[in-house]
C-alpha cells in the first residue's frame, strides 16, 4: 500500500523547511451524502514530526481541517542527511508513518 504521506524536507543553513501532503478524507462528521445520511467523522487527530528522537512539530487536528491536508513549517537543529519521521493517528485509530531524509 503506497504511503498516504508525501514529504519534502530541505535544509538551508540552520533552518530545515518541511512540506507534507497527506491523503486523508478528513470527514468532519457534519456532511450528508446524496441520500441524506450523515457521513461519519473520520479525521486525523494527531500529526507528529520527529527528528533525532525529538518531536519538532505536533499538530492536534479536528474536523475543521480539509481533505488531503497540506502542512508547511520550518525548524532548527537538523542537517542534510538526518532522518525525519512523520506519523499520524486518526479518530478511528488508524495510523500511517513514513521516514524521509532531509535534503
Amino acid at each position: 500500500m503506497p504511503s498516504t504521506i508525501r514529504v519534502r524536507a530541505i535544509s538551508s543553513g540552520d533552518l530545515t523547511e518541511v512540506q507534507a501532503l497527506i491523503q486523508h478524507p478528513m470527514d468532519s462528521g457534519f456532511m450528508t451524502d446524496a441520500q441524506g445520511a450523515t457521513i461519519p467523522a473520520h479525521f486525523i487527530q494527531e500529526l507528529t514530526f520527529e527528528c533525532k528522537d525529538k518531536k519538532v512539530f505536533v499538530a492536534d487536528w479536528g474536523p475543521a481541517v480539509s481533505k488531503d491536508p497540506y502542512v508547511k513549517f520550518s525548524f532548527k537543529g537538523a542537517a542534510k542527511g538526518d532522518d525525519l519521521k512523520i506519523s499520524w493517528v486518526d479518530n478511528k485509530g488508524a495510523t500511517d508513518t513514513i521516514t524521509a531524509k532531509i535534503q
Binding site: P2, R6, R8, Q19, A20, L21, Q23, S66, K67, D68, Y70, K72
Partner: protein, 284 residues
C-alpha cells in the same frame, strides 16, 4: 414546344443550383482569423500578462492568488489523482490490451491534439469520449464522465503533455466547420435564468470577482483541465466543469459529451491553439 420549355427551365434551375454552390456563404467562418481576434482581445485587455500565462486562469489575473498557487504547486493537491491516473493508465484490461493500444504514441504526450474532428463519424471526439470508447471496445464498462476515474485518467494524460502547445485542427470539411460554429454559438449564447453566456464571465469578466472567486479568461481555459478544485475537494473533468457552469446560471445541464459540449470544447481549444498545456490544474 412544351418539352423545350421544360428543358429550358430545367437548365435554368441547374444553373442556379450550381451558382448557389459556387457562391460562398455570406457568413462563412474563418476560424484562423477568429482565433487571432480572440487572442488579440485578451492580450490587449491584459497587456501585463504574458501570452502563455493565460492558461493559468485566475492566477494570471491576480497577484495574491498567484503567490498562493505557486506555493501549492510545490506540493500540488492533484498529486494523488495524478498518481492514481498513471496507475490506471498502465493497468491492462481483462482482455490483455491497454489504453496505450487505443492511442497514437501509446497515449503519451497527445492530449494537446484533443478534441479532434473525426471525419468518419462526422463529429467532434474529446479525450474523455475517446477513453471511454477505448474501454468499451475492449469489453470494459465506461466510466462516468463526472467522477474520479475519468478525472484521474485525463489528469495523467494532460500531465504527459505539459508544456506542449495546444494543437487543434479543423479539417477542410463543412461538418467540421459546422461543429466549430456550433461551439462558438454555444459559447456566446445566454442561458439559464441568470441569463449568462460563457462569454459573460470569461470574455467580459476575467479578473473580476463572482462572489468570492476571480474569473478566468476564456483564452487558455481548456489548457489547465482537468482541475483539482478546492471547492470540490477533488479532481474534476471537463464534463463536470461544463455541467456545473450550466447549473450555476440556473440552466438545466445537458448530458455529458452532448454535441453542444463536444463542440464548445472544440471551439475553445482551437481558440487557445499555441498556448501550452498546463494541466492537470489546481483551482480554488
Amino acid at each position: 414546344m412544351r418539352v423545350g420549355m421544360l428543358f429550358q427551365s430545367g437548365l435554368i434551375a441547374l444553373a442556379l443550383a450550381l451558382l448557389a454552390q459556387a457562391a460562398p456563404a455570406a457568413d462563412a467562418p474563418d476560424p484562423a482569423a477568429e482565433a487571432k481576434a480572440f487572442r488579440d482581445y485578451f492580450v490587449k485587455k491584459f497587456p501585463k500578462v504574458k501570452l502563455d500565462d493565460f492558461v493559468n486562469g485566475p492566477y494570471s489575473m491576480n497577484e495574491d492568488m498567484r503567490k498562493q498557487w505557486q506555493q501549492k504547486e510545490q506540493f500540488p493537491p492533484y498529486e494523488f489523482a495524478l498518481e492514481a491516473g498513471k496507475e490506471m493508465f498502465a493497468t491492462r484490461f481483462k482482455n490483455g490490451k491497454s489504453y496505450a493500444d487505443c492511442f497514437r504514441n501509446g497515449g503519451i504526450g497527445i492530449r494537446q491534439n484533443y478534441p479532434y474532428f473525426d471525419e468518419k463519424e462526422g463529429k467532434v471526439v474529446t479525450l474523455e469520449l475517446a477513453l471511454n470508447r477505448c474501454r468499451e471496445t475492449n469489453g470494459e464498462a465506461p466510466y462516468s464522465y463526472v467522477e474520479d476515474e475519468m478525472a484521474s485518467l485525463t489528469a495523467y494524460m494532460a500531465f504527459t503533455s505539459r508544456g506542449r502547445p495546444m494543437d487543434i485542427k479543423i479539417p477542410n470539411d463543412p461538418r467540421a466547420l459546422e461543429a466549430y460554429e456550433n461551439g462558438k454559438r454555444y459559447f456566446y449564447t445566454r442561458r439559464g435564468q441568470l441569463n449568462f453566456s460563457c462569454a459573460s464571465c470569461h470574455v467580459q469578466g476575467p479578473g473580476e470577482r463572482i462572489r468570492a472567486e476571480i474569473l478566468a479568461p476564456a483564452l487558455g481555459i481548456m489548457n489547465a483541465l482537468p482541475i483539482y478544485r478546492s471547492e470540490w475537494s477533488g479532481m474534476g473533468t471537463t464534463s463536470r466543469r461544463l455541467i456545473t457552469c450550466n447549473s450555476q446560471t440556473r440552466a438545466v445541464p445537458l448530458e455529458p459529451q452532448s454535441d453542444e459540449y463536444r463542440d464548445v470544447e472544440f471551439y475553445l481549444s482551437y481558440m487557445s491553439n499555441g498556448l501550452p498545456i498546463s494541466g492537470p490544474g489546481a483551482r480554488p
